[in-house]
């Protein structure tokens, strides 16, 4: 894969930072105010005691009154953990979707680095999440390791939910970004639920090409699936089918969007004819994902 990010692009990215809806909880502190309860003097809340918690943080006064153990929680400035997942299935290798996915991943990673967050980029292959960059902190480390992403290969299936639920995603420590075309029968909604259950901010970027949104195929055609050669669609493609296709695209995108909204996750459709700059500076900024 060619160099996906150039210097001028990095300069543009400097101007933005990743917006975070919730306060962040980082392990090393950072520029984000996290809802992760820490050890600063500002009291925030109570929660049930769990085995392994620091017993010094148990509020014994409450225990004395209720005989139940609660931990006292304090707000603290924490470092954010940004995890970016790239769907590396075969379908993503068409029509420049892979390139767009990588560019978006790098750009978003960079923005996180700029916020002194820890950044990880993963490839989803089959049912496994493969780390490409992991827990990178600081611009230097980022620039030294980002070149690995150019070796990223696309192919095979990707089971997003199964892969993510098997991986370590952290708890309440930042944002998870899934970059995929989401054109699959496989259940990926569970992954969003799973991440949200881990108190993570979730951003789903659906990358589609213009050829997928408005295909130019006409006439009698057998359309084979890139991920499964035995799977094909056969018909005389005309106006009526194209109208139905258009509705299908609208249905698929709105279904994800609605699901994300219901789970307080962010969703954005990205097309490969858009520039990364346009996606970041306009689309995501307008949506408030980037501030």
């Amino acid at each position: 894969m060619a160099s996906v990010i150039d210097e001028s692009f990095f300069q543009q990215l400097e101007l933005f930072s990743l917006a975070v809806k919730d306060n962040v909880a980082g392990l090393f502190g950072g520029n984000h105010k996290s809802k992760k309860f820490g050890s600063s003097s500002e009291f925030a809340d109570y929660r049930d005691y769990l085995e392994g918690d620091d017993i010094t943080k148990i509020d014994w006064n409450i225990y004395g009154r209720t005989e139940k153990m609660y931990l006292k929680l304090y707000l603290d400035e924490r470092q954010m953990q940004t995890r970016i997942y790239i769907d590396c299935s075969t379908s993503m290798s068409y029509n420049g979707k892979d390139e767009m996915a990588v560019r978006l991943a790098v750009a978003l990673a960079y923005l996180s680095i700029k916020e002194m967050d820890r950044v990880s980029i993963y490839a989803i292959r089959g049912k496994i999440v493969e780390p490409i960059l992991e827990k990178i902190v600081g611009k230097d480390a980022f620039t030294q390791t980002i070149g690995r992403i150019n070796k990223l290969k696309f192919g095979g299936d990707a089971y997003i939910s199964e892969a993510l639920t098997r991986s370590t995603v952290g708890f309440g420590d930042g944002r998870s970004i899934i970059i995929s075309d989401f054109l699959t029968d496989n259940n990926f909604f569970d992954s969003i639920d799973y991440l949200r259950g881990k108190k993570r901010d979730v951003l789903c970027l659906q990358v589609l090409s213009p050829q997928e949104i408005k295909p130019e195929i006409r006439g009698k055609t057998i359309i084979r699936d890139s991920e499964d050669s035995m799977r094909f669609y056969k018909d005389n493609i005309g106006r009526e089918i194209l109208n139905a296709y258009k509705k299908a695209v609208e249905y698929i995108t709105s279904r994800i969007d609605n699901f994300c909204t219901s789970r307080e996750a962010d969703y954005q459709l990205v097309t490969t004819d858009q520039s990364v700059k346009e996606v970041l500076l306009k689309t995501l900024a307008d949506k408030g994902v980037i501030k």
């Binding site: 699959t184 359309i223 799977r231």
Partner: protein, 623 residues
């Protein structure tokens, strides 16, 4: 069913070609998409309208094949036969003068054409059309024309009514012949005559009348009794009973008027008394209906008595002039008789009659008339040969040269019902161009022509004493005609019907003749073109009314002669007899023909539109 252009059926070959194109185009092409997920989702969303939709992609092909088939067949122009649905129609169009009446800018004749055209336009395809124009003689304009546009052309090229007397009876008889021969089975009669009663049988009436008043003077005569004058006028009021006031004129001076009670459609002759000539000679008599009607042409009638006086002087050179004297005297010809021994060529005579006498020279002015000349005369234009004395009398034969107007003029009024016999005659050989009236043993016996000096001459190859001719009734009119030839009167008849030809005799002294028609301005006149030596001119009358001939002579003097052209005798005169004959008998040959249905233009248009619409839909669907 048959096809006018069967080659167009080759267009059907486009169908297999189209099918091949479809087959070639119908192959599935393969594409690879990142995911078929959206396509499968689209398939779930696609509303299949009906089970036939699986054949939807074939529908365009089926429709296009059908369109090509219809288009090809339509171009081949199929003709469907509708058995017994077509008529062989014969139209009879009245071309009488009354059909020239104008009502609201349209003549009855034009109305008749319009009505016929209407019938033709509404006729079933496959009908044939025959048109009989009822003129003076019925004229078969066209027969069994099966093309409407061609028949329309015939109709459009019909000339206006000829103002002749029509012959509807003869026209119907002609239609009957067509019925008998199986060439017609339906007859329409377009006329302004009232056929509303039951006078028609197997004929349908196309009413061209407009029920406008129409009167007509059909005839006029007069009688002078002392100074008293009475008129006999024949009238008809075609549209209604009418009291018609008629004014009478003598020499263009009004004498007064009389009222005649006319019964609708009945031709009546009225005697109108109480007028006086006041001592004037009758030069012209005129009657005018004092009323306005649709056709004014026949509301006046003028007659000119044949009072043309001509002074003819003849010199008879004969030793036995008995017959000649008698006939010349009867004809009021002033004559002088000299015996051959005392003959000396002198001038001053119009006719020089040489009876069995050979003059030494021919007169340079005046006509010559020879009887039984046995020797040739220099410059006479004929040569005498042997004298013939047959054992039995030779019968003269009329040449019956009816094509010659001069012959017709010279034989005018001659009965030709008695044989003219000769006991002795002379054979002549003709050198100049003569018009022979009678022949003896196929040799010219009586002939007229010109001498070498272009004077007129009349030649009998026999002496009147050797013939029974002077004893026959025909002798008088024959001699009258010959004398008229020698010194011609310009006009012999003064009463014509429109379309008649007036014969103008052109005397040698005449240098110019003009005719002023009633439709001309006073200072206009129609010159008659004739060559020197031309003896007659046939002038075809075409305008109703008083005509004036002005003749100019070599000496500069002029002479005016009037004649009147009246409308033809109207058809109503013969109507009572005609009514009985306005019927057509249906015979076994009178059958309907087969109709044709070949109007396939809408089919062609529909097929073309269908094909275009289908193709547009198809391309829109595909691209």
């Amino acid at each position: 069913m048959s096809f006018l252009f069967p080659f167009a059926l080759f267009g059907l070959l486009a169908i297999p070609a189209l099918i091949i194109i479809y087959i070639l185009r119908n192959k599935y092409k393969e594409e690879t998409a990142p995911s078929t997920y959206i396509w499968e989702m689209a398939a779930k969303l696609l509303k299949r309208k009906n089970p036939l939709s699986r054949f939807e992609h074939l529908l365009a092909l089926i429709v296009q094949c059908l369109a090509i088939a219809v288009f090809s067949v339509a171009l081949a122009h199929p003709v469907f036969t509708l058995e017994g649905q077509a008529d062989d129609i014969v139209f009879i169009l009245d071309a009488s003068s009354s059909m020239g009446m104008v009502h609201e800018g349209q003549t009855r004749y034009e109305k008749g054409i319009e009505l016929i055209q209407e019938k033709v336009d509404n006729a079933v395809n496959g009908c044939t059309f025959t048109l009989i124009l009822a003129e003076k003689e019925p004229r078969l304009v066209c027969q069994k024309v099966d093309d409407v546009s061609t028949f329309t052309m015939y109709l459009e090229n019909l000339k206006a009514p000829t103002k002749n007397e029509t012959s509807l009876v003869d026209s119907v008889a002609l239609a009957q012949n067509l019925f008998n021969e199986g060439k017609a089975n339906l007859c329409y009669l377009a006329t302004d005559q009232d056929c509303s009663g039951e006078i028609l049988s197997n004929i349908e009436w196309l009413d061209c009348s407009d029920n406008e008043e129409n009167y007509s003077i059909l005839g006029l005569d007069y009688k002078v009794e002392g100074t008293g004058l009475k008129f006999f006028i024949t009238l008809n009021s075609y549209a209604s009973d009418k009291d018609l006031e008629v004014k009478f004129y003598l020499n263009n001076q009004e004498l007064g008027s009389k009222t005649c009670q006319c019964v609708k459609g009945v031709t009546q002759t009225f005697e109108c008394k109480g007028f006086t000539t006041q001592g004037y000679a009758v030069q012209s008599v005129k009657a005018v209906i004092n009323a306005t009607d649709g056709l004014m042409d026949d509301n006046s009638f003028t007659i000119y008595p044949n009072t043309q006086q001509i002074n003819t002087k003849a010199l008879i050179v004969s030793s036995a002039p008995t017959y000649l004297e008698a006939i010349f005297k009867a004809m009021n010809v002033e004559y002088t008789v000299v015996p051959p021994t005392k003959y000396k060529l002198v001038g001053g005579y119009d006719i020089y009659v040489y009876d069995s006498f050979k003059p030494t020279a021919l007169p340079e002015i005046g006509a010559s008339m020879f009887f039984g000349l046995k020797n040739s005369v220099e410059g006479a234009g004929f040569l005498a040969s042997a004298e013939v004395i047959p054992d039995e009398s030779t019968t003269l034969a009329w040449t019956n040269n009816e094509d010659s107007s001069l012959y017709r003029t010279l034989t005018r009024g001659i009965g030709m019902n008695r044989d003219i016999l000769l006991k002795q005659y002379v054979n002549y050989s003709l050198v100049n161009n003569f018009t022979t009236i009678l022949t003896a043993n196929k040799k010219p016996a009586v002939f007229v022509g010109r001498t070498d000096v272009q004077t007129r001459e009349v030649v009998f190859n026999f002496d009147l004493h050797n013939s029974n001719l002077p004893l026959l009734y025909d002798f008088v009119p024959l001699m009258r005609n010959l004398v008229d030839y020698c010194k011609p009167r310009t006009l012999l008849d003064f009463d014509y019907e429109v379309g008649d030809k007036a014969t103008l005799n052109i005397a040698d002294e005449i240098t110019k003749i003009t005719i002023h028609r009633p439709d001309m301005k006073p200072d206009e006149a129609e010159p008659i073109a004739f060559e020197k030596g031309q003896e007659q001119y046939q002038y075809e009358t075409r305008t109703v009314g008083e005509h004036l001939i002005t003749v100019t002579y070599q000496d500069g003097s002029t002479k005016e002669i009037n004649f009147f052209v009246h409308m033809n005798k109207p058809e109503t005169v013969a109507q009572p007899a005609a009514q009985a004959n306005f019927a057509l008998a249906i015979t076994e040959n009178t059958v309907k023909g087969d109709g044709l249905l070949d109007n396939i233009l809408p089919i062609i248009i529909a097929a073309a539109a269908f094909f275009a619409a289908d193709w547009i839909l198809y391309t829109h669907e595909q691209y």
